[in-house]
């Protein structure tokens, strides 16, 4: 059986794997658990399964219809967001919500109810899903929409692929009149600054910030805030993005250490001399900066890495974020990929949707000694602030905590197809038995 891993490369499983080329080829086995997988950009165990039957959806990329008057796009679930963009951009449409990589499938975007830089205005991906064709082992093909089979719809968006195999889905796009955005990069000196900037940028459709998670003391929480909006120059030619760099092998472990990361962060913060830098940016470099580096996950070496992504409710955001950053920077284990973003108040209908009104912090950590201890310290802070963690990013979330973060997990369990499971969900359930 082939060995399969996820983006974080911390966990590897043995599982058989099927590559359906048509919808009829999708077979949910009865004698072992199944799980549909896409491009496996989830970091942890939510897209993995031991000794099961993985259903690789990547060959199912047919577009069923594209109404370029109304911006309604209907396709098989294995199509990637990158490919969707290549089709919709020339017609003047864009993804309503996009995560920081375009290398995820339509099915994966739904199953993780992904969010993007416009969450404060547009909410999550689920809001734009008009219908889902769901294949389950116990019923005929189910069509779920926000009003029809509503419960199954809400369980499936953000449902980690557990409610059935998402065969295809119809989404509403948003109109654009250019492939370029006007963007501003603004330096901030602490978390207070960041929160003020976020508040002031509420009418900018896209906002995100990089935070220096290594700096301490008076520079704690310094970073660069980016905001952008599409311009209207009618330039809609689609240029296939080039991968500029490829990491051909796992980088030796010593390359990324506290000193090199500190140096990177120091330089990155100072590369921008002025407090505000305004520029015109192509959508690809604004939304997907890391996509230009092929296999960047190899930078973290052969032991892989974790991402810790939490959201902290608005009320206590400042103190809690400072506390988190303080613990991280004094541990010296942070990395150069640390992101802050304000979530708006739009609630997703997904039972297990991650975002809530507040601020999310996402950081990568090389898999090394003591990292799990650091995470449990961070967990305590997140719990006491009534925040939560993102299953798509997590490779180790304690089941008891997960249940606390997502009290509706039992409703999802009720909707789960009994022949579908994931390594992540198995661990959630195993906690129950103990």
């Amino acid at each position: 059986m082939p060995k399969i891993t996820s983006w974080g490369k911390v966990c590897t499983v043995d599982s058989s794997i099927a590559y359906p080329a048509t919808l009829d080829d999708i077979k949910i086995a009865k004698n072992k658990p199944n799980l549909a997988i896409g491009l496996r950009r989830s970091y942890g165990t939510s897209c993995l399964l031991d000794n099961g039957n993985l259903i690789d959806m990547n060959r199912l990329r047919n577009v069923i219809s594209f109404d370029n008057k109304k911006g309604i796009f209907h396709a098989h679930a294995g199509i990637s967001l990158a490919e969707i963009l290549s089709i919709i951009i020339p017609a003047g449409w864009f993804l309503p919500v996009t995560p920081g990589t375009k290398f995820v499938t339509l099915g994966g975007a739904i199953a993780n109810d992904v969010h993007g830089k416009n969450h404060h205005i547009n909410g999550t991906f689920a809001k734009y899903v008009k219908s889902i064709e769901l294949q389950r082992s116990d019923t005929p093909l189910t069509i779920c929409t926000p009003t029809k089979n509503k419960q199954m719809f809400n369980a499936t968006v953000g449902g980690l692929g557990l409610t059935g195999v998402i065969q295809s889905a119809k989404i509403q796009l948003i109109p654009i009149r250019s492939t370029n955005l006007i963007t501003e990069d603004i330096k901030f000196y602490n978390i207070d600054d960041f929160l003020t900037l976020s508040e002031e940028s509420n009418d900018w459709p896209y906002t995100v910030a990089w935070v220096d998670c290594m700096s301490q003391g008076h520079s704690l929480g310094q970073g660069i805030f980016s905001r952008g909006k599409f311009i209207e120059d009618d330039e809609l030619e689609y240029v296939p993005p080039q991968q500029k760099l490829s990491i051909p092998f796992d980088v030796p472990n010593f390359v990324l250490n506290t000193a090199t990361v500190k140096m990177f962060n120091y330089l990155y913060y100072r590369k921008q001399f002025d407090d505000i830098k305004e520029r015109l940016q192509n959508y690809d470099s604004f939304f997907y900066p890391l996509d230009s580096i092929h296999s960047w996950n190899r930078l973290y070496g052969k032991n892989g890495f974790y991402q810790y992504q939490c959201v902290i409710p608005k009320k206590d955001a400042k103190d809690t974020l400072e506390e988190l950053l303080d613990v991280i920077s004094s541990s010296g284990q942070g990395s150069f990929l640390a992101v802050l973003k304000t979530f708006g108040s739009i609630k997703s209908s997904g039972l297990l949707s991650f975002p809530m009104e507040g601020v999310t912090l996402a950081l990568d950590f090389k898999n090394s000694d003591g990292i799990l201890d650091l995470f449990s310290k961070l967990d305590d802070i997140v719990v006491s602030a009534k925040g939560r963690l993102y299953p798509a990013k997590d490779g180790r979330i304690p089941p008891a905590l997960f249940k606390k973060f997502y009290p509706k997990w039992e409703e999802l369990e009720d909707c789960r197809d009994s022949n579908i499971n994931s390594k992540f969900w198995q661990s959630v359930l195993s906690d129950e038995k103990n």
């Binding site: 080329a21 048509t22 060959r59 577009v63 069923i64 219809s65 290549s86 089709i87 020339p90």
Partner: protein, 248 residues
């Protein structure tokens, strides 16, 4: 090469052909698709239309029988002209099976070679009437040196290779351009029986990009992905006493 507006694909349900068609659909071309499986063609048609194809015409029938080739060719060329003809069908039959049942070999040769040459002759003459266009044919690296694991398949592709070399020379001074495509290991349903671990396996969508680029650049032969040129170069040069020991 002038811009391609109109494309005829023979064997349009094959993975590589499907990916090539998707690229030309985005370029808003008129596409004519030939394949045996009518159902699959229908699905491909809606996909290509949604992706931007100006028009998609589908014709189904047995591509490897003399009689239907005549019919399909007439229908496909009844109206208009083509800038590109891509021949992309073939069968990969298990070598062992054919050793046990040699009569199967004739079928494989007919599908992979004889019928393909019929299509080539007909379409290349059609292109030549307008003194314009490209005929692109999918061969295989397997044709570069016969080996015990698949020498029947390999020999059909070797024959096709020689045939196309001659055809290329015949049309050298004309406006018709002939491209021989030699894919390596491609991750398609046709090769699902193999263990696909390792860096040599490529995705059909990447191969399709290579093909479109080669057509644009008027290349005569391409190996795709590119490194297969070097792999096959070495394999062709290997002395037999080494070659025979290789587990390939």
């Amino acid at each position: 090469m002038k811009k391609i507006n109109s494309v005829l694909i023979i064997g349009a349900t094959s993975s590589i052909a499907n990916e090539v068609a998707r690229l030309y659909a985005v370029q808003k071309c008129d596409l004519t698709l030939l394949a045996r499986n009518e159902e699959k063609l229908k699905e491909i048609k809606s996909d290509l239309t949604a992706r931007g194809a100006k028009s998609v015409k589908c014709l189904s029938g047995n591509l490897a029988s003399k009689k239907t080739i005549e019919e399909l060719f007439t229908k496909a060329t009844a109206s208009g002209s083509y800038d590109l003809v891509l021949i992309a069908y073939g069968v990969l039959c298990e070598q062992e099976k054919m050793e046990q049942k040699p009569e199967l070999i004739a079928d494989v040769i007919n599908t992979n070679f004889t019928s393909v040459t019929l299509w080539c002759e007909k379409t290349v003459n059609f292109l030549n009437e307008k003194n314009n266009g490209c005929l692109a044919v999918i061969g295989s690296v397997a044709g570069d040196r016969g080996r015990k694991k698949n020498y029947v398949y390999g020999s059909t592709k070797a024959a096709l290779d020689s045939y196309l070399q001659g055809l290329t020379q015949r049309f050298d001074d004309t406006g018709v351009h002939i491209l021989t495509i030699k894919p390596g290991f491609i991750d398609t349903p046709m090769t699902d029986k193999f263990d696909k671990g390792g860096p040599l396996w490529a995705k059909p969508e990447d191969v399709a990009q290579d093909i479109v680029k080669a057509i644009d650049k008027n290349k005569r032969v391409i190996y795709t992905p590119w490194f297969w040129f070097f792999i096959m170069f070495v394999i062709k040069q290997l002395p037999y006493f080494i070659f025979k020991r290789l587990p390939i």
